[in-house]
Symmetry: C2
Subunit: 110 residues, 2 copies
DNA sequence: CAGAATCCTCCATGATACTG
DNA sequence: CAGTATCATGGAGGATTCTG
């Protein structure tokens, strides 16, 4: 159980989840463009993990040049909805956290 | 925004959040007992971060031996509620993920 | 008891090169 | 294009020691 949370609450996993949730069916290279800062290695690795966990469906087309498409499974979409609460929490309380940090910094110096 | 998620979706942060949410006001040493596997360093470090972000309130008593108590702020509790969806998701779909993993492993071998 | 400070290790990740 | 393979490294985190 704890390991499920650990895998699912991963930075890259969340970003991929978001990208697929918003864009539907996406090719590998397009994904890397949609997620600034991700390396090719982490994209591959995280996608494999998500596919393994049943969050992502991977479709390979026998073409030249190769084409591989990724999309969320129903399980993947349900995870997206579950995380929705956390996203909206972050947006809603962003300013509050900023303020807390500044207050904390002042307290450290004072 | 992205950094908020990154900090909040941290393994130790989540475990501390859960421990405080369930147990209310807790001393440092009791926390380390409530969270098996956490080192003294990570407990201190994560608590400081959470305090800095306004998720946790820290109270020091001028006693000998020292006593320090931790508890969630309203902001901390609200984060706990936001993550509730993810927890219940994990519980609800645990078996489904397990099955997907086994299926994936078979496919790899086959 | 509740930490701060130090050292050290290992692993996740990035960078690079290669391939079908 | 969509990867795999290999090497290098920075930093997260553990173990230990010390202190008010």
């Amino acid at each position: 159980m704890n390991d499920i949370i650990g895998r699912v609450a991963d930075k890259w996993t969340l970003l991929i989840l978001e990208a697929l949730d918003e864009n539907g069916v996406v090719r590998f290279k397009e994904l890397s463009r949609l997620i600034p800062g991700i390396s090719q290695k982490m994209l591959t690795q995280t996608l494999r993990q998500m596919e393994c966990d049943g969050l992502v469906k991977r479709t390979v087309y026998a073409e030249v040049p190769p084409r591989v498409e990724y999309e969320l499974t129903p399980l993947g979409f349900s995870l997206g909805e579950a995380f929705c609460g956390v996203w909206t929490w972050a947006e809603k309380h962003y300013a509050e956290i900023e303020a807390a940090r500044k207050k904390f910094a002042r307290r450290q110096r004072g």
